[in-house]
Subunit: 439 residues, 3 copies
Amino acid sequence: MKVLLLAAGRSQRMQPIPDKNFLFFLGKPLIVHQIQSLIKAGFDDFAVIGGNHNLDKLKTLPQDYDLKDINYTVIEQQNLDEGMAGAVIACEEIIDGDPICIVSSNDIVDEKAYELVINEALDEEVDSVIVGKKVDKYFPGGYLEIDENGFIKSIVEKPGEGKEPSDLVNIVVHCHKNPKKLIEELKKVSSTRDDRYEATLDSLIKGGLKIKAAQFDGYWQPVKFPWHIFNVMKYFFGKMEKSISKNAQIAESAIIKGDVIIEDGAKIFENATISGPAYIGKDVIIANSSLVRDSMVNEGCVVGFSTEVARSYLGKNVWTHTNYIGDSIISDNCSFGSGTVTGNLRLDEKDIPVNVRGEKMSTGTNKFGLITGENIRCGINTSFMPGVKIGSNCMIGAGLVIPYDIDDNKFVKGHIELDVRDNKAELDSSARDEMRGKI
Amino acid sequence: MKVLLLAAGRSQRMQPIPDKNFLFFLGKPLIVHQIQSLIKAGFDDFAVIGGNHNLDKLKTLPQDYDLKDINYTVIEQQNLDEGMAGAVIACEEIIDGDPICIVSSNDIVDEKAYELVINEALDEEVDSVIVGKKVDKYFPGGYLEIDENGFIKSIVEKPGEGKEPSDLVNIVVHCHKNPKKLIEELKKVSSTRDDRYEATLDSLIKGGLKIKAAQFDGYWQPVKFPWHIFNVMKYFFGKMEKSISKNAQIAESAIIKGDVIIEDGAKIFENATISGPAYIGKDVIIANSSLVRDSMVNEGCVVGFSTEVARSYLGKNVWTHTNYIGDSIISDNCSFGSGTVTGNLRLDEKDIPVNVRGEKMSTGTNKFGLITGENIRCGINTSFMPGVKIGSNCMIGAGLVIPYDIDDNKFVKGHIELDVRDNKAELDSSARDEMRGKI
Amino acid sequence: MKVLLLAAGRSQRMQPIPDKNFLFFLGKPLIVHQIQSLIKAGFDDFAVIGGNHNLDKLKTLPQDYDLKDINYTVIEQQNLDEGMAGAVIACEEIIDGDPICIVSSNDIVDEKAYELVINEALDEEVDSVIVGKKVDKYFPGGYLEIDENGFIKSIVEKPGEGKEPSDLVNIVVHCHKNPKKLIEELKKVSSTRDDRYEATLDSLIKGGLKIKAAQFDGYWQPVKFPWHIFNVMKYFFGKMEKSISKNAQIAESAIIKGDVIIEDGAKIFENATISGPAYIGKDVIIANSSLVRDSMVNEGCVVGFSTEVARSYLGKNVWTHTNYIGDSIISDNCSFGSGTVTGNLRLDEKDIPVNVRGEKMSTGTNKFGLITGENIRCGINTSFMPGVKIGSNCMIGAGLVIPYDIDDNKFVKGHIELDVRDNKAELDSSARDEMRGKI
C-alpha cells in the first residue's frame, strides 16, 4: 500500500512559523517522525506531496535522515489552493491499481492508527477506511456519521457542540483500495469547492462505496495553530529516552536532571541547569547560570548567560543572552539582546489570545509567550507582550514594549527623546564606603 | 492583671501597607509576637481592642497560633477617631476592680518592659505605672517629667530637641490599678481632643494619682512608618534560632549560610543561595540561581529564577521572577514580571524620602526601595524609583519607569508608540559564525 | 643613556577616557609597565615629561610602585600644543652630553625593542637610532625610507596603502647620541608646525646625521583610540602568570578557571565564575552567580549579583549589579543600576563605529560596547547602544535607551508620561494556584 503523505500546505494558521513539516523535534523534522511511524506500522512506499516552497527539502529527506529500504517519491502540487483533493489528483500518474493510504501532515498520531487502518483494510467487504479518533469533548472538526456496522454514512463538518453524529473525528489517515476510482470522482467535482474531497467521498458513499470507520483511541494531535507545537513537544518528550552524548562538554558544576537528550558537540557551562524533559541539540551552547526546562533547544542554539528557557520551542541557531523565554515558539536563526523578556502572563491572569489570520483566538491557557518567524534580531531590554507574533526577518530595537503583532520584514524602533541637562548633583564618596561595608 | 492590647489603629502612616498587626515575622503576625511576650512576662488575661477591619482576624488568633491557657476577648472600638482613649472606654464593660495594663501594638518592646511594669506595680504607694524608655538622642514623642522619687509630674509631647524634661520617652505600657476611675475621668474629657488620654492622666495626677515612671533600658521600636519594618525585621533576626525543616526540599547545590529558618514545604532549587539572616516561610519556592539575603520571605512566596531579594520584607504569596528586590517592603499577593527592578539608590546617592500622608519624610538612609500594598501585579522590565509607594490592587504595565506614588486600585500604562518600517538591513551569516568562535 | 619618557599628551582621541598613562593593567598604570620594561632592557635614568593634569601622579610613581635603583625626574611640558618637539625642548636643562632615548607612552612595545635600540647605538658610525616596526599590512603612521645600509633617508607620514617606502613604521623609541644638537635644531623650526620634530630630523639627516633604522619584529601596540585598550589588555593577559592571593576570600562553590590573577582582599561569592584570562584587583567583590571573563577588573570594583562582564576593562571602583557589560571600557568610579545593559552588537551585525573628535571611525569589530569617563552614575534598566561614549561626571536616568554620545557633566533623563486609570480588572486566585502546580 502506497502512502500519499500530504505535505504541501502553507501552514497559514501557523504564521509566522514557517512550514510546520520542518519543525524539529528531538533533532528531526516533524515529517520525518511521521514517515518513521508509518514505516514502523509497515508501510514502505511513499509519495510525498509538497509545494514549491518545500520541494527541495522534501526530496533529500531519505538521505538526510537515513530512511532506508523504502520507495520514496516527491510529487509537486502546483496549485496549493486546491487543497487535499488537488494533492491526491497530483499523484494521478503514480497511482496504479494498488490501494493507497492518504496521510496528512496536519495530524500527528501514534503508529497504532496506521496499523489500525492496515488491519481494517484486510476485510474484503471494505472499500475504504477512515480513521475516526474517539474524542470525549467537542473538537471543531469533521465528525463521522456511521451505521450499525461501523460504515460511514457521511462526514459532518463542525456540527457544533451537542450535535455531533458520533464521538469520532475524521483524521486524515484514509485508505482507498480503488484510488483510480477516487481520482476519477474527484475530477468531477468543481476544483473551487473547499470541500471537494469530502463531497467526493459523499458521492462515492451514495454510489455504494463502503468506507469503514476505524475507531482509534490513541494519541492524536492536530498541528494547526502555533500552540499545538507545545502539545507535540510534550508528545515527543513522553517518548524520548534519556541520552547524553559523550561528545558533549558538560561542566562539572552543571546540573542535568530528569529526562534529557544532549547531543554531540553541545557545551553546558558552569552552574547551568538542564531540568528535563529537555532536548539539547547538536552544538548547542548553554552558558553559565542558565536554566533550560521543559524545552526543545534545537541544533546550534546559544542560550547565553543567566537565561531561562521554560516550556519553549527554540528552532535552530537561536541566540539568547540574559533573557526569559517562557512558553514561546522561536523559529530558526533568531537572536535576543540581553535583558529582553517574553512576557507570558497577562496582568489580569486571563487566557491569552493570539491573532490567527486576522481573528483573535484563545490559546486556552494563561501562560503564553512569544511566537516568531525566522531571522529575527531583537535588541536589549525589550519587552514582548504575551501572545505577540513577530514576522520573519524583522529587527526590533532596544528598550521597547511590543504590544501587537509585527508583520514579516519590518524594522521596529521607538521614539527616543532624552532630556540632557547640566549635571548639578554632587557626590559624596563616603556614601559608597558605607555601602561597601554593608555588602 | 488584664492586658488591654490596643490594636484598632488603621496604620495610616504605614499606607499602603495594611494593618501592621498582621505583618508576619518568622511566620507569625506581629501582634502574636507581642501577646507571646506578654505571656512570657506573666500575663494571662487579654482584651484585644480591634476595629471593624481586623476584628475577625483578631478573634481567631488563639486557635490560629496555639495561644494556650489564657483568657482572650476581642473588643470592637467603633469610632477609631477616638484613639487610645476611645479604645480604653470601649473596654468599660469588661473592666472590674482589678488592675489593667494598657499596651499599644505601636510599640515593640522586649518582655523585660512588661516584667518591669508588673514589678513596679507591686509597690503599694503606686497607683499607676508608665514605662519610660531611656533614649540617648531626641525622639519626637512624649517625654516623662518626673520628680525626685520617679513619679510623673506630666507628659510633655514633642518638646523639641534640647527641651526634653528627662531622657524618658512615654511607651504605651501603662498599668492602672484603678481602671474604673481612669474610665470615669476619660469620659469627662471631650472626645474630640487628640490628647484626651494624656489630658486625663494630667488631671488625675493633679488630683493626686501617683504614676510611677518605670525606667526601661531594653529594646524598643515604634512601628509607625514603613521603614520601621526593617528595624523590627532585624530585631526578630537577632532573636531567631537557625532551623531547617526536614520537610523542606533543598537541592544539593543550593547554598544555605548564616542564620536561617526554612519552614515546611519550602523548596530551594539548584544554585540558589540563602544568605542569613533570612526567613523562608512555609511552601516558599526559591528558584535556580536566586539569592535571598537579610530578608523575610513569608509563606507561599515564589522567588523566581535569578532573582535577588536583599534586605527586604516580602509578605505572603509574593511572586518574583528575575527581579532585584532591594530594601523593599512588599505586601501579600504581589507579583513582578521578569526584569522588573526596585531602584534603591538615588543617582546622587542622597537619603531617600518617602511620602507619608502627603508629607515628604526622610527614611534616614540612602538605600531604600519600593513599598507596596497587597495584590499588585507588575509587568516585565519595569523600573521603580527609590522610595516609591504603590497602592493595593494596582496593575503596573511593562517597560515603565515609575517615579511617583500610585494610589490604590489603579491601572498604570505608558504610551507606546512604535515606528514600524520596512527592514532594509541585510544580514551576513558569517558574522554569527565568527561570534560563535569567540564564545 | 637617559630615557625621555613622553607622557604629557592629553589623550584627546581617547576621550572620555582620562589619561591613558593611568589606565591600570594587572594592578599597575600603563606607564609603570613601560618604565619597568625599560629598566629590564637596561635603562636606569628617567626623565618623564608630563603635563599639568598628571604631574602629581607621575611624581609619586617610584614610591607608589616601588621602582628601585633608578634616577627619576619629572619635567613639566607647559604648552601641550607643542607636542613631541615641545616635550624634548622642555628637557633642555637636564640634558648633558650623554645620549638620550626618547620613548612615547603612545607606543607599547616589548622590552626587545628597547634592547635593540641600545645595541644599534653601540655602533660608532651611528648618530641616532629609530625603531622601525615591521608591518605586514598598511598602518596609517609614519614609514621609514631607508638606504641599503639601513640608514634612514626620510620619514614619510601616512603614505597611503601601496605607497609605503618600506615595511617599517616609525615607533617612538628614538636614540640620539647628541641630544644638544637635536634641541638646537628643534628650536630653529617653527613651534607651530605639527611635524616640527620630524622636520628637524629631516634637516639633520640632510646635514649628515646618520640615523639607523632598528628593524623590530616584536610586539607593538599604539594606544591612540579607545579600542586599542582591548589589544593592550590581551597583551598583558598573554604575559600574566596565574596567581590567587591567600588573602582573597573565595567561596567553595565559586569557579575559577583558566589564567587568572586574584589580588589581596578580593571576595568571590557563591556560584560566581571567573573564566580566565581575567584580572581581579585588590578588594574587588564578585557577587553570587556572576561571570567575569576575558576582563580586567581593577581594584575596588563591585561586580554585583548575576552580572556578566565579558571582554571588558573596568577601572577602579566600578559598581555593577545585574548588568551585562560586554566589550566595554568603563573608567574609574562608575556605577550601573540593576538591569542596565551595554549593547555590544548592532541589529544588522555590522562593524560598530565610534565618534573620535567628531569623526565616525570604525572599531573594526562587530562586537563593541560602551566607553565611559569617570564618575558616571547610571540608573536601572537602561540600555546603551553599541559604541556609545558617556562623558565623565554624568548621571543617566533609569529605563532609558542611550543611542548617542553624552558630553561630560550631563544629567540625562527621559520624558516619563504614565496613563493612570482606575483598575477594573479582577483577579481570580485560582490562576495562581494552577501556576504554582506547574513550577
